[in-house]
Symmetry: C2
Subunit: 288 residues, 2 copies
């Protein structure tokens, strides 16, 4: 089974849990709306790529870890789109969850997706119980306090913000969780050695996201654009200018490839990362 | 160390994680506000009481499981108090989190507390790695989909509600998680056998909460009262009347005691449960 099929199939099984008879059907519908149809699935694909580079001897657990990362990403999108944050009406080209289901169900669908992430990993753990702690540790670090994506988002509520801390936590942390959890799920001897790869890729992805917000239109990326400038938010484009941000993206992509630890599938993973990071640059800027 | 000290000390260590240098300080403050000063801690005390009745040979893990249950309870209070649900200005006798820190940090503090619950259990797991899956499974069932407290809260967004499903999920589920996770943390042979005790206690607690909402004043219980009636919410008082609800509470307390499985500390646990359930009846009704 290829990585994309593993991810979609594990996510489908996870979301199915919400649709049991006797459970509130609108909550399940809101969760499904948040997870399907799919986005780029860039984080879970990264997680599975790392697991495969490390031998991937427990594919059920690595698929669950990857799905868990994506569920947490979807949860963060649901909450970040709410009126008290980005107030975004659209996401992935259609109504955001609070626009489609109301604010109460947006809060609860996000909460339930966070819990579902941990349920999903725990349910896959009987194949390798001793790896569950490290996998959950990696995922928890990427999402929670002190330096996960929730902490990153919370910097928007602070009077003073360091751009690098903000972006590393808001985006990089979940990429690092994807690489570390992928390695831990595959039983790699030192999962923490994979953190640097995730950090660099996360930073690259954040710069690319800032570039998209600055140069793309809503129809192309399926969500409102120009939000960073409109809301006065910190962004790489605001800090380095458009050209500076493009150069920073290239530097970070090289640093990511250089950060891949020695492992059985190192060559193949390098090629994959190079290909993925090339795709991050908005088409308008690549052809300019 | 007594149960109360174990709970407070484990919660204090957990919340300290949010206060690391380089993390957003207002998020940490909002989380601390949600967890301290303490409420009744009825769920974590139940969890530890069950662990002790089962031998409690890994107290670090059972303390973490108990703290995790309380963190999830606090998270649910933070989100349920928000304007899109109960719109409660006070909680535990002072400002609710969104009143003290704003809506964005209320959303994020709740999210971070959910994640912290799982981080806390995972960090305690090295002493008994094979128990982590069952403990997280029990906790996830109590909070998430299909039948946990988030699902319970989501019934408030459905056009038709069954009172028994609603209350079992909204309140009973976390009590059941407290008993099952306590048993699993202590290595009990069949943790699921402890679910019935939690279910019954949760239902008793929900009936007691409905009674308090109907007969107490805000100064006594530290949060707004009369909300069920004002918001037209399902409640045991609305369904059975005041006397009927009092009788139902007594029946449920007896059923809880009868549901305690055979275990080394059965006698002591029975006495404790009897004492706790007696305290649930609002003083006004007990003296009437």
């Amino acid at each position: 089974m290829d990585a994309a099929t593993r991810i979609e199939s594990t996510l489908a099984d996870a979301v199915l849990l919400a649709e049991a008879s006797g459970a509130p059907p609108r909550l399940a519908a809101a969760m499904r709306h948040a997870v399907f149809p799919k986005g780029a699935r860039i984080r879970p694909r990264l997680s599975i790529a790392v697991a495969m580079a490390c031998g991937d001897d427990r594919p059920r657990l690595s698929s669950a870890a990857a799905a868990s990362i994506e569920l947490l990403h979807c949860a963060s999108l649901v909450h970040d789109d709410m009126p008290c944050f980005d107030d975004a009406d659209t996401r992935r080209g259609r109504a955001s969850v609070h626009r489609a289901f109301g604010e109460p169900l947006a809060v609860l669908a996000g909460d339930a997706l966070i819990v579902l992430a941990f349920q999903t990993v725990a349910r896959a753990a009987p194949c390798a119980p001793e790896r569950l702690g490290p996998v959950i540790g990696a995922i928890g670090d990427g999402v929670g306090v002190p330096f996960g994506i929730v902490a990153g988002q919370a910097w928007e509520c602070e009077p003073e913000v360091n751009l690098s801390d903000y972006q590393r936590q808001k985006t990089g942390a979940l990429f690092a969780a994807a690489t570390v959890a992928g390695a831990a799920a595959a039983g790699a001897p030192d999962p923490e050695a994979w953190r640097m790869l995730g950090d660099r890729l996360g930073e690259a992805y954040q710069v690319a996201d800032d570039l998209r917000d600055a140069v793309e239109d809503e129809a192309t990326i399926g969500k409102p654009v120009g939000r960073d400038k409109a809301l006065g938010r910190p962004s790489a484009v605001a800090e380095f200018g458009l050209d500076g941000a493009v150069r920073r993206l290239a530097t970070l992509a090289e640093a990511a490839v250089a950060a891949i630890p020695a492992c059985p599938g190192q060559g193949r993973l390098r090629a994959l990362i190079l290909e993925e990071t090339r795709r991050l640059l908005p088409a308008k800027l690549a052809t300019a």
